[in-house]
């Protein structure tokens, strides 16, 4: 009976099942399988004849052969060797396919076998790649400004420097009539064009009785199309601005005005004063131009008189050769000095492709970028990639002991170190490749948000160009090499002895390396957090900073062409309304606008002082809320007195007065005059020197600019009163006004953008670092499960264990923070020094950053460690 039961085991069926299973793996060929089967039968017979139960003997013999995936791997490696050494039997392509295929199969197996680990790695890499791609796009976009113009390399903007103090001392709004001077007195220019306008200034466009408030209106001369590349859709092409009263629209503006009807030939009334005829429609200018526009209207129909002190035109020039630029600069500078002996002034030519990143002027048509920001974002992109690579290295090495058997088996059966390195590198490449779709998805989702936060116009489609593909490929190679290199070398170096000894893989040396890596991550995260806080603090400070005048409820107006009497009529009408507090002519402050500057030589020591002069009307000082320190302000009586009165800033009083009062002294410079009062320094822009040496001159005829102070609770009423009074004087022209505080805010748009982008990426980098630290904590906790279990069985509490696990991380975190502090300090000081007035860098920012950093790390580490600490020791100990 006994023997019958024994023989109920069907050896042939068992073999058949095994065969089928084994043959499912293509790495094991049929001849190999047959050989293995015979071996299996031999072993089985031998075991049975020694008295073993046949079924058990089969199991034993089968296990002796090893499991299918190990066998398949072993054959794979050997087959690969064959391909490398005896490749003549196959075509190169087959070899390549099989080689890559085998490596890939092995790598893929490892990716899906460890899902949690792979998810951590892939999400970290995807986030980092998405950030790097976005930053790459941003940089590429910024560098591509204005390179689409056909003559981009030969086109220059004329910039004038009148020696105003400060970083951005140049002005691109240059001398009126300069274009004609160059044409008539300087041979060598291919094309010159001049224009005026400010992108943000809105003008009224009336189309069939419908009014549109349009920004981006440029008044140009007929040469505009010769200098800048336009794609004509409708109309008469480059000649379309030849006729006076002609007008050119962009495609989207034409669509707005006329829908799908033809735009050419239609008439549009501009600012309710003049009719223009649309002569052409062009494609919208691309986003990467410093000169975007919606409407070009033909101006400059009369020749302009040369007037060095009257500015108001942008002048662009196309030159046949680069060296002509310096020749022209010299000509213009000489010409200026000849006409204005003793005045400071020089001209230079700025290549248009440099304008976006190195504008260097304050009166750009639209706010421009800053190459320093580009460098910073580039560095952040690299730091984020470094973080992701460190994550990979940490996770891979922490896992090394779990793979050490795999490596050992491969080595014993003849895998070479190089093969193993290839294998592990391929694994990191695969991981990186797998993260690419997520990275692209992430970038696609993030771009609109980044655009709206940062005021950029990046599009996902920009990624689809060869340069970006090359960048992406480069990133992939760098990241997979950067991430995979160390683990690959480490793994390949593993001695097979350790495999069989089952020794733990982490030795002293590696812990040190891991600590360095984690420390570096913490240092990077900390630096980014701290700098984010410094930037945020400084931006907050700028916005709330004392300007030296009160910009609230100030409305700025440009009553062009009014006489002094007209303005006085306007002024008296609106101030009779309680909604308006006061009104005066004068250049609004805080916008960095300059009127006139010269140098005064001090009589005491002959040193020179740079002065700025601003023409203002009666009541300006009161309207702007400037603080009078000494003397008096201007009054009506001054208008008829002989000597023009002047009010100076406190810095002037300090520098020129040298201790004694300057009130009552006469000024022989500029147009001369007598100082009647001193006001506290005010800030004309964020960039000017903290010492603002300004002279305010009474000039009631200068009515080009005006400021009106409204009563805070009656803004709307005040604006209505102004509009009523305005219409009486200029019935055809709508009143164009802006709130000064908003305009001042708008000056910081670049800083605010910078802050927003910085916030996003530093946030991301912290997330990436936390992901890695979380994974690392998980792996190290698991490696130490037994140690923890033993400690617990000896009576250690969960808190003791937690403290043990967290302590090691904390030491590294502190080290990282301390390492990065000096760099943060130096960099922050450097950045802050670009502002005249800035926050004081103190320990509280560093402390807050350290706390934020610690919170993130502690959350990541404690979360996993807690699980290990709480685990039942019996489970861990009964593992094997």
């Amino acid at each position: 009976m006994e023997s019958k039961r024994e023989w109920s085991f069907d050896m042939d069926r068992a073999i058949e099942t095994w065969r089928q299973f084994m043959s499912s793996n293509p790495s094991i060929r049929s001849s190999d399988l047959e050989e293995l089967e015979i071996h299996l039968r031999d072993e089985w017979e031998s075991l049975v004849s020694s008295g073993m139960n046949p079924e058990k003997a089969f199991e034993e013999a089968r296990n002796d052969l090893g499991n299918i995936s190990d066998l398949a791997d072993a054959y794979d490696d050997v087959n690969l060797e064959k391909i490398f050494w005896k490749g003549q039997t196959r075509s190169e392509m087959d070899i390549l396919k099989t080689t890559a295929g085998n490596y890939l199969k092995s790598a893929w197996r490892n990716v899906i076998r460890h899902k949690g680990y792979s998810t951590l790695n892939i999400s970290g890499l995807a986030l980092a790649l998405a950030s790097a791609l976005t930053i790459g796009l941003f940089i590429r976009h910024s560098l591509s400004y204005d390179d689409y113009h056909e003559r981009a390399d030969d086109t220059y903007r004329i910039v004038m420097d009148r020696g105003f103090p400060g970083e951005n001392s140049g002005q691109s709004f240059v001398t009126t009539g300069l274009a004609d001077v160059i044409r008539s007195e300087w041979a060598g220019a291919e094309h010159i064009t001049q224009m005026r306008g400010t992108y943000s200034t809105e003008q009224v466009m009336t189309v069939d009785q419908v009014h549109f408030m349009m920004s981006g209106v440029l008044e140009v001369d007929e040469n505009f199309p010769d200098v800048f590349s336009l794609s004509f859709i409708e109309g008469s092409g480059p000649a379309s601005l030849d006729a006076p009263r002609s007008m050119l629209l962009t495609e989207s503006t034409a669509q707005l005005f006329f829908g799908d009807e033809d735009a050419t030939g239609r008439t549009i009334r501009v600012d309710a004063t003049a009719d223009y005829t649309v002569t052409a429609v062009v494609k919208d200018p691309p986003a990467n131009t410093h000169l975007p526009f919606n409407v070009l209207i033909r101006g400059y129909t009369e020749p302009l008189q040369l007037s060095w002190n009257s500015i108001g035109n942008y002048t662009y020039i196309v030159l046949p050769a680069e060296q002509e630029a310096s020749r022209l600069s010299k000509f213009l500078t000489d010409r200026y000095e000849k006409d204005n002996p003793g005045a400071i002034g020089s001209f230079s030519l700025q290549p248009i492709r440099d304008i976006h990143l190195a504008s260097g002027v304050q009166d750009d048509y639209t706010p421009q970028g800053d190459s320093r920001y580009l460098l910073i974002f580039g560095s952040i992109g690299i730091l984020i990639l470094v973080l992701a690579c460190i994550n990979y290295v940490n996770l891979a090495t922490a896992r090394a002991d779990r793979r050490v058997r795999e490596v050992g088996v491969r080595k014993v059966i003849g895998a070479s170190g190089a093969q193993l390195r290839r294998q592990f590198l391929l694994e990191s490449l695969l991981m990186t490749l797998l993260s690419v779709p997520f990275a692209l998805l992430g970038a696609a989702v993030a771009l609109p948000r980044i655009n709206s936060l940062a005021g950029e116009s990046l599009e996902f489609s920009m990624l689809m160009d060869p340069v970006m593909w090359a960048v992406l490929t480069g990133l992939l190679l760098i990241v997979s090499l950067g991430a995979g290199f160390y683990p690959a070398v480490l793994m390949a170096r593993k001695n097979p002895v350790e495999v069989f000894a089952g020794s733990r893989s982490y030795g002293r040396a590696r812990i040190t390396l891991r600590q360095i890596l984690v420390g570096t991550q913490v240092a990077i995260a900390f630096a980014l957090i701290a700098i984010t806080l410094v930037i945020a603090g400084q931006l907050e400070f700028i916005r709330g900073n004392r300007l030296g005048f009160d910009a609230e409820q100030i409305v700025t107006l440009m009553p062009r062409g009014w006489s002094e009497a007209q303005f006085t009529a306007f002024q008296s009408e609106i101030t009779s309304n309680s909604a308006v507090q006061s009104a005066a002519t004068g250049l609004p402050m805080g916008l960095g606008w300059r009127y006139y500057g010269w140098t005064q030589t001090l009589p005491e020591d002959g040193s020179e002082v740079d002065l700025e002069e601003m023409p203002i009307g009666v009541g300006f000082v009161e309207t702007m809320g400037l603080e009078l320190l000494e003397g008096r302000t201007f009054s009506e009586i001054d208008l008829n007195s002989g000597k023009p009165p002047l009010i100076v800033s406190s810095s002037y009083a300090e520098v020129v007065g040298n201790g004694s009062s300057v009130v009552g002294t006469e000024m022989a410079f500029g147009n001369g005059g007598q100082i009647v009062g001193v006001v506290r320094d005010f800030r004309n822009s964020s960039y000017t020197d903290s010492k603002n040496i300004t002279v305010l001159r009474l000039d009631a005829e200068m009515t080009r600019f005006a400021v009106v102070k409204l009563t805070s609770q009656q803004i709307l009423e005040g604006l209505q009163a102004m509009r009523r009074a305005w219409t009486k004087i200029s019935p055809d022209r709508p009143m164009n006004y802006q709130f000064l505080d908003e305009r001042i805010q708008a000056q910081y748009v670049e800083e605010i953008r910078f802050g927003s982008i910085f916030n996003i990426f530093s946030g991301l980098s912290i997330v990436i670092a936390s992901l890695g630290l979380f994974g690392l904590a998980a792996l190290t906790a698991r490696q130490r499960d037994k140690e923890i279990a033993i400690r617990k069985s000896q009576g250690a509490s969960a808190m003791n264990i937690l403290a043990l696990l967290v302590k090691e991380f904390l030491v590294v975190v502190f080290a990282g923070i301390v390492m990065s502090m000096p760099l943060v300090w130096i960099y922050s000081q450097e950045w802050l020094s670009g502002f005249n007035e800035h926050i004081r860098l103190d320990g509280s920012i560093l402390l807050t950053s350290a706390l934020i950093c610690l919170t993130f790390v502690a959350t990541a580490v404690i979360f996993r460690s807690l699980r290990a600490a709480r685990a039942n020791p019996v489970e861990a100990l009964s593992w094997e």
């Binding site: 047959e34 490696d77 002895v497």
Partner: protein
């Protein structure tokens, strides 16, 4: 454990040596190794066959299917002239190591038998 790592390094030398004494098949090779090592060394079939494969691609051994009287058909391996050369190199390597160890152990006072 050191035996194991030595095994890793010596595996092809051992196989070639066995085959030099006569053609054989995998199962038999494992048996020979077990017996000759006084049951100290036990090779796993899963490691042996792939290595045999590689030695074949190196041109050291070649295989043929053979069915002796009364036995099952098996894949036999025989050593090639190239394999003999390779074995000779291996032999010199191992002998050098052997002599080195012997001389070191001699200085340390061990008798050759212990080695």
């Amino acid at each position: 454990m050191s035996t194991k790592s030595l095994t890793g390094a010596s595996i092809s030398a051992v196989i070639l040596s066995i085959l030099q004494n006569g053609d054989s098949y995998g199962y038999d090779i494992i048996n020979q190794v077990r017996q000759r090592s006084g049951e100290e060394i036990e090779w796993k079939a899963g490691s042996l066959y792939p290595v045999m494969h590689r030695m074949q691609t190196n041109g050291w051994i070649e295989d043929y299917w053979h069915e002796p009287e009364g036995e099952r058909r098996r894949r036999y391996y025989r050593i090639t002239p190239k394999g003999v050369k390779a074995l000779e190199q291996e032999r010199q390597k191992w002998m050098t190591t052997h002599r080195l160890l012997l001389s070191l152990w001699h200085d340390a006072g061990y008798s050759p038998e212990i080695a």
